[in-house]
């Protein structure tokens, strides 16, 4: 397999526990690829003869098998099947299947790995963004009563703000890959990547995740700012009251001193 697909950190290949579905050619094999982010991908590789186009009956029969196999972990709703010219690719989070002539398999795997990394990164950003938004309601409500916050709550709001900024940065780094225009003349890698991005609506999901991250950042920043301003204002009010108390006590001391000295005379 293409050494470029190995994880730079050396995690690379692992043995997969998944079994090759029945009905596939004997040369079919499953490899486990570990992406740089640590996400694992079970890759089912099925070599076929060149000229057996993706519209052939054999390929058509395999479509259902492959869809079922990739759906096993992530569910059928997330599975996509992309028929290319003499290749067939099925994908779902965590699993992928590539069917094609041997000379195409390396390119297909490269494209799958790259897409899987993009998808995993996007899913992670989606999940983390959703978690932040779930907590946003409480943050907004609590920001008007900052003195009632525990240290844990304060740390939580700060961490959510940092998280939102981090997610936004990751999404912007991902943007160049996701929003890259179709390349022409295309290669097999670019064709598959474009088809997968289109089928999984990666662009729309990225836009939504970016909006959510921006919303989370704005709201958490506003909450922090509001809480800070309220705290500062209340500290200022407290200091002002301290001054008032000191002045009152000083006045009382002066009055006592004055009255006592008048009484003495």
């Amino acid at each position: 397999m293409n050494p470029d697909t190995r994880d730079p950190a050396g995690a690379g290949d692992e043995m997969s526990s998944a079994a090759v579905p029945a009905g596939l050619p004997a040369a079919a094999a499953i490899h486990r690829r570990v992406l740089a982010s640590g996400v694992a991908l079970d890759l089912l590789v099925v070599p076929t003869d060149r000229g057996a186009g993706s519209s052939d009956a054999s390929m058509t029969d395999m479509t259902g098998l492959l869809r079922d196999w990739v759906s096993a972990t992530a569910g059928a709703a997330l599975a996509v099947v992309v028929p290319l010219y003499d290749c067939l690719v099925a994908w779902a989070p965590g699993r992928a299947a590539i069917v094609g002539p041997p000379e195409h398999l390396a390119s297909l795997e490269t494209a799958i790995i790259a897409f899987a990394a993009q998808d995993a990164s996007l899913r992670d950003a989606e999940r983390r963004g959703t978690a932040i938004l779930d907590a946003i309601d409480a943050d907004v409500a609590a920001s008007t009563e900052p003195e009632s916050w525990s240290r844990e709550q304060q740390r939580g709001l700060t961490s959510r703000y940092h998280e939102a900024v981090t997610i936004g940065c990751r999404l912007s780094l991902l943007s160049s890959a996701i929003h890259a225009p179709p390349i022409h003349p295309p290669t097999l890698v670019t064709q598959l990547g474009e088809r997968l991005r289109d089928r999984t609506r990666l662009v729309e999901r990225h836009e939504l995740a970016t909006e959510r991250a921006a919303l989370a950042e704005r709201v958490s920043e506003a909450s922090r700012q509001r809480a800070l301003e309220l705290s500062v204002a209340r500290q200022q009010i407290g200091l002002e009251w301290v001054i008032v108390v000191l002045l009152v006590v000083q006045t009382a001391l002066l009055v006592v001193d004055m009255l006592a000295s008048r009484g003495a005379t």
């Binding site: 209340r234 407290g238 301290v242 108390v245 009382a252 006592v256």
Partner: protein, 371 residues
Amino acid sequence: MSPKAPRREASIDVLRAVAIAFMVVVHFVENLSGTYDSIHGPFEGISRIWWLPTGFAAPMFAFLSGVSYRLWNVSYERRGWTDHAITMCSIRRGVFLIVLGLAFNVLVWLPEDVFNWDILTFVGCGLLALAVARRMPDGVVLFAAALVIVVAPAMRNVSDYASYWTAGSYDYEFTLSDVVLGWLVTGYFPIFPWLAFPLVGFAAAPRLLSVSAQPMAIAAGLVAASTAVVTAWATMPLAVTGGTAGAWTMFPASTAYVLGTLGGTCLALAVMHRLLDGDEPRGRWLIAWATPLSRHSLSLYLLHHVVHIWPLWVYGMATTGVATSHWQRVFPPAVAVSLAALFLVGGSVLCHVAGRRRIPMAESLMRRLCD
């Protein structure tokens, strides 16, 4: 403070009822028999043991006035009262108590005792101070309380406190300076340092009435502080401690006394809150006895004086022509204590009946005029 439905805290009622009981006993013994006068100075001998718990009655009462005011604030805010309305009601109640206190001094004691700044006028002044303090952050309120405690000895020195006290009684001239000084420093319950009690009660209430261990820490700190002051007094020369600073005296309220009673009341409230407040409190009989007394604490205060002072004046006028001729010498302490106990029993019954039949008492008069 955790948001709760407006309900009476049994712990407050029990402590207030105990304070009332102690107060009744102390006043009956003090006014009907005069076999000890250690309330005016450092306690000695067996009276020391007698004095210690009763010395908590007035501090407990003043402290609980702050706690109750905090709860009352929260309750009325929840009912939708505006800030202005609450403040005006607080001022009216404070003025009512001051006027009532002054009238009480004239009608129950003697006209010349009108400005002796007793507990009732003090609680009224405390309410006025709390009407302002309710706008402050709790930290500032505690700071104010600490400042009051710290400057009180200096004020007493400046005002020559001892010159206003003769044979254990407060004696003043009808001049503006004496009246004001009495209110501020030299009276029975002057602002400095007694204002610390309602202020601390107001600020500490949310924490003392919460589940956390904070109350214990607060109380332990205060007890430790007073212990340190007492120890310093015991070990250091009198000149260094300034005499009144280290002594445990109520009149004047020494620093050790203030700190120690504050710590004790905080501790008592925290313990009682854990024991008595909640869905399944212990000592239901105690709560059942204490609640009516607490509800009618003002009426009991007025009544118990009337019950034992007025007959004393009448007896004095009848026998010698001087109302105070039998003051502090009419009964031995045992009889005085028995009469106090009798009053407490009768007073308890009266409060129970008044509560059930909604008989108007001083509290309802205050609510009608001020709320």
